[in-house]
Symmetry: C2
Subunit: 409 residues, 2 copies
């Protein structure tokens, strides 16, 4: 008798964003005349940079000729893209990486979802709370947790609450944990971690033989020069951290799909008997067995984001969204909301007024202002009482959304 993986049945309700889509679609269906503005899901709206488009076309044209056609590429990505990553994202910030430490993929959702496969089921997971649901849900599916309790927490996961009191950057826990998901600049709170704060995590991981999974998908939005862009800017981090990067939010790749993971050669895990095992060859084996690489034209398009023109154009995209972030942050403050983030991140984290809960306030904003937000509670129990607003809209929509919300007061 074929049995299902019963861990899936521990997952409550739908994944957050499909649930939002469902509510928005239902409301739109009942109110077809209403123009809904989406500041919910973190999806970009500006077209791909011109340099990226040009390289994309050129690579498609290569696929049309037998002489330049590309079949299977290396599962871990083409060297031209890996070298561009190493040079631009790391060497320029003083971090040296080897080519076989970079694994090109089709998305950080896949990478952060798949990475747990290479670790033992007995590991204790720690997440900040609120948290990107993929980190938690993929561990639930794998069987590293018990059921969800009434607070919405899964048994066996260590949740580290992010609150105004700790500036949404919790300290390492007192108890030992094995696998720690950190995301800075943070989705959803927009908080950043200083070098000192990350240093304490690296120190903790080294002392506890833990591994940090560092999601840096939003590093391009950092405006404060003192904030690290990579965890490898912290000495000793290569021995305890895997880093994830994405082109989704920086180069506008949410529909184009490219990202990468860095798994340093110095990184080790252990057998249950305590024997050291290098993690890099295990991830290499996982990727070569279960993945066939990113579409060649997409990899060429991505490479172009690192050209001189590409970098300028990507910078312009980031600046555009950060101007939206500024508008949202200052408008919401002006309307009397208590807001966080939006300075080094494209997300603004808004306290719902008068103790209203997240989904109620989400529904209210949808129905009264026709604005889609993301309920903080969807990111975990400590997100209750907050909303996430995303800066990835068109500026005129952001302005109109702020106008509508301003009129609610």
């Amino acid at each position: 008798m074929i049995t299902i993986n019963e861990n899936f049945m521990k997952l409550k309700a739908g994944y957050l964003f499909p649930e939002i889509s469902r509510r928005v679609a239902a409301y739109q269906k009942e109110n077809p005349q209403v123009r809904i503005i989406r500041l919910g899901i973190g999806d970009v709206t500006l077209p791909l940079p011109a340099a990226v488009i040009e390289a994309f076309h050129k690579a498609v044209a290569e696929m049309a000729e037998a002489k330049t056609f590309k079949g299977y590429g290396p599962e871990q990505g083409y060297d031209f893209l890996i070298q561009a990553v190493i040079e631009n994202d790391f060497r320029l910030r003083g971090v040296e990486l080897k080519a076989n430490e970079v694994f090109i993929s089709d998305g950080s959702k896949c990478d952060t979802g798949n990475i747990q496969e290479i670790f033992g089921l007995e590991n204790t997971i720690a997440v900040t709370d609120p948290v990107y649901p993929v980190y938690v849900d993929t561990n639930v599916m794998a069987g590293r947790t018990g059921p969800q309790n009434s607070q919405g927490c899964y048994e066996g996961i260590v949740y580290l609450p992010c609150t105004p009191a700790n500036q949404f950057t919790p300290e390492p826990p007192r108890e030992p944990v094995d696998l720690i998901y950190l995301c800075y600049p943070n989705n959803p709170t927009g908080a950043v971690a200083t070098k000192e704060a990350l240093g304490r995590w690296v120190e903790y991981a080294r002392a506890n033989k833990a591994i940090i999974l560092f999601d840096a998908a939003y590093e391009a939005f950092i405006t404060d020069a003192a904030i690290p862009h990579s965890i490898y800017e912290i000495p000793g981090a290569k021995e305890v951290a895997i880093e994830f990067r994405s082109y989704s939010k920086t180069a506008g790749f949410t529909g184009t799909r490219c990202a990468y993971a860095v798994v340093p050669q110095e990184l080790h895990a252990y057998t249950r008997a305590g024997e050291k095992v290098a993690v890099n060859p295990i991830w290499h084996r996982r990727q070569t067995t279960k993945f066939n690489g990113v579409s060649y034209p997409v990899q060429r398009a991505t490479e172009a984001a690192y050209s001189a023109a590409g970098k300028r154009q990507v910078r312009a995209l980031v600046d555009y969204y950060m101007e939206n972030a500024r508008i949202i942050r200052t408008s919401m403050e002006q309307f009397g909301y208590c807001v966080y983030g939006g300075v080094n991140a494209p997300y603004i984290w808004v306290k719902t007024p008068n103790g209203t809960n997240s989904w109620e306030y989400f529904d209210m904003l949808l129905k009264e202002a026709h604005v889609v937000s993301t309920p903080g509670a969807g990111f975990g129990p400590a997100g209750e009482g907050f909303l996430r607003l995303s800066a990835f809209g068109q500026k005129e929509n952001v302005l109109e959304a702020m106008d509508r919300i301003g009129k609610l007061a």
Copy 2:
């Protein structure tokens, strides 16, 4: 202490194709003047069809304008592609599917590798032997097997030997198994399954509450009108089978990346307590949580393979490779080899002469004829004593390879 998933350490040596690449690269390095012809890995060599290229460019151009730009798409694929799949690959063969039963992905390697995640770890796996290594290795990684024994078999997996005696299409086993991987037309043997043979598998699965994972990546190469292209042509199969399709070999997408899986609504698995659970929503949950959809331009390019021009061009590609298959098959027969396959499949399965083992014969062909084959033993113990030759080369290379092999005799 962070522990590694120790199941990875049960995997022996490298994944087959990286090991071949390693040997070929080493030989080429020592003999830089030699022109090596690759009939090994099943990688296509002809450019993408013109209709595909045209649609690909058009979609890239859409990504350059805010009005037509696409961000996140549905994780399970765009409806335009799903509808084209349903109409062309199934309705035209008398099979009706619903839109939410088709899941567009970036490759059958990913799909056939990931699908096991949604089933319990206690299931018994059956594979034909020889077999595409991904089916086995992903179950080893997940922990559904014991270690590998001296014959190269993993404890706990039921291997069904494919031999000349059973025409490489083994019957269902006597013992009950839960999850059965079938691939027809078969990689690597080139064998096909008749309606009657597949019917016996469907009957077995229904009687034993088993699920069949049917890999139909090579269905376009079927030339015999009586051979089913989809397992759903067998009555009752929707209740017991998941089907995988790929554009890699048909439309030349090995470097472009698109495929799909069909998970019918009628398909059920069970809790350990025996309660029925629909599989479709579980796979939907897995995909929406761990995957972000295929690149939009790639989905548009794929759609074009179903246009009138696209279909003609894909047909021409398939015919070209099947002419290569005919050349290899008849030449090898003429040289006195015992050969199988190559009639309804792009693979020719060659018995190594005089009891030479697969890797020895692989090395001999590489060194004496400078032709890359795939050692049958790399696909499983019953592949020992065979080589796979692939028809995906350029015709002039295939002719020269045959000429070189002919001279060895």
